[in-house]
């Protein structure tokens, strides 16, 4: 059923300070809305619970890129199209531009933002596996100040994050020093565009004299939040890729993931495919 549109409030302050002040002052908190590719779907279907919204769309203070010698800082309001068009991301951090390329369709990429993709907290979101593989940090802001934390500790449980009611995700930072790393990303879904993933894996690894000296693996749709696969990484550290280490890594992956049955796939399929994706990556090392 359609929503009664008149019961929704939307405000669009012109500055980040004004937005943070409203979030700090309002006892019944506002819900931020950026490109609307999630919340407007709920509105159209008559199931948008939040009645007071605050627009972050196209706010210059959140839609930016800053490149330093060590890192790329991406404003939470950068769209997937912005990310696909950024020369440093496409050349050095291509797992993220790849993920952006299969997020929704071109129209969705023109509106959907990296910050929205993260804060929405879907375990199936397209950008988190790449962000986890790159060991991104996230900067959160409020009138009380700002804090920067590892992205891997941002999600607490299904759709729950560490964001306080008065806080906004401000930016995402990706380190640039990735010389010598092999990278991998693959999404398995019914089709590339416009389909939510059944399972996705992103990973980076570096070997020295044949042994894996550094590896990070991010996954979608294998736990209730986007997840770093720490036990799997540990099982591979200082190992060479052999049938035995592959088998150990596959079983570590299965031990630390908890995929579910839902309309898109089954737990059994997700587990089998995730292990196969990992193995496909290990064969490239």
């Amino acid at each position: 059923m359609r929503s009664n549109i008149t019961q929704y409030e939307l405000v669009a302050p012109k500055s980040l300070d004004a937005i943070l002040q409203i979030l700090a002052d309002s006892p019944d908190r506002y819900t931020p809305i950026a490109g609307g590719t999630e919340l407007m779907v709920a509105l159209g279907a008559g199931r948008l619970q939040q009645k007071k919204l605050i627009s972050l769309w196209n706010l210059g203070e959140l839609r930016f890129f800053e490149v330093t010698p060590d890192a790329v800082h991406i404003g939470a309001g950068a769209t997937f199209t912005d990310i696909r068009n950024h020369p440093v991301i496409t050349s050095e951090l291509s797992l993220l531009s790849q993920a952006a390329s299969w997020t929704g369709s071109i129209a969705n990429q023109n509106r959907g933002t990296l910050g929205g993709n993260i804060v929405n907290g879907s375990p199936a979101a397209d950008s988190p596996p790449a962000l986890l593989a790159y060991d991104a940090t996230v900067t959160l802001v409020s009138t009380r100040g700002s804090r920067t934390i590892p992205y891997r500790s941002f999600h607490l449980s299904y759709k729950k994050t560490v964001l306080a009611p008065d806080e906004l995700l401000h930016s995402i930072t990706l380190p640039r020093n990735l010389i010598g790393y092999k990278t991998y990303i693959r999404k398995v879904g019914t089709r590339n565009a416009q389909a939510i993933s059944k399972v996705a894996i992103a990973a980076i690894a570096r070997t020295k004299h044949g042994a894996i000296e550094s590896i990070r693996i991010g996954a979608a749709s294998l736990r209730e939040t986007p997840a770093r696969l720490i036990a799997t990484e540990q099982s591979l550290l200082n190992q060479t890729v052999t049938p035995a280490t592959i088998a150990a890594a596959r079983s570590a992956l299965l031990s630390e993931t908890l995929p579910i049955d839902d309309i898109r796939s089954t737990a059994k399929y997700r587990a089998a495919v995730a292990a196969n994706l990992l193995e496909e990556f290990l064969h490239t090392l």
């Binding site: 549109i5 919204l53 929704g104 071109i106």
Partner: protein, 156 residues
């Protein structure tokens, strides 16, 4: 209600609307521009596609307040005179339109694509139109129409 000022097909418009009203509904109900269609209402089918400041967007997912000050182009603004736009002519000649529900979105997605790539590969055409679903043509004739439009050099 909020006062909204924006430009639609080159004409400036001022109207009052609830700020969360969908751009699609403002176009259809307030401005009587019914070229943009509602298919899925969730950003998957592309039949409500319009250009917002030159970018392809699903108008069912844009709250009208976020279109404040924007330049919107709908299918009604593609042909400036009584003559069809060359992209429309190519869709007509190549059988790229059948029932017509997806066609306005397909034309606008093509417009956006040809601005980016003057001579798109088949893969780029498929990606550019991947958010626009058609249940009639099987897409081949649509791809042919886009290639014909590219050959005709319609990109601005």
């Amino acid at each position: 209600m909020t006062q909204i000022h924006f430009t639609v097909n080159g004409e400036s418009k001022a109207l009052e609307a609830p700020p969360m009203k969908r751009l699609l509904d403002v176009l259809r109900e307030d401005l009587h521009l019914t070229g943009a269609k509602e298919g899925c209402g969730e950003g998957e089918c592309g039949s409500c596609s319009v250009l917002m400041n030159g970018d392809l967007v699903n108008s069912c997912l844009v709250p009208i307040l976020q279109a404040e000050g924007a330049q919107i182009t709908t299918i009604e603004g593609v042909a400036i005179t009584e003559q069809l736009h060359p992209i429309q002519q190519c869709f007509l000649e190549n059988g790229g339109a059948q029932c017509g529900i997806c066609t306005p979105g397909m034309i606008l997605a093509t417009h956006h694509l040809l601005k980016k790539y003057k001579d798109p590969s088949l893969l780029q055409i498929q990606e550019g139109l991947s958010g626009n679903l058609c249940r009639c043509t099987g897409y081949i004739r649509i791809f042919n129409a886009v290639q014909a439009a590219a050959l005709a050099g319609v990109a601005e």
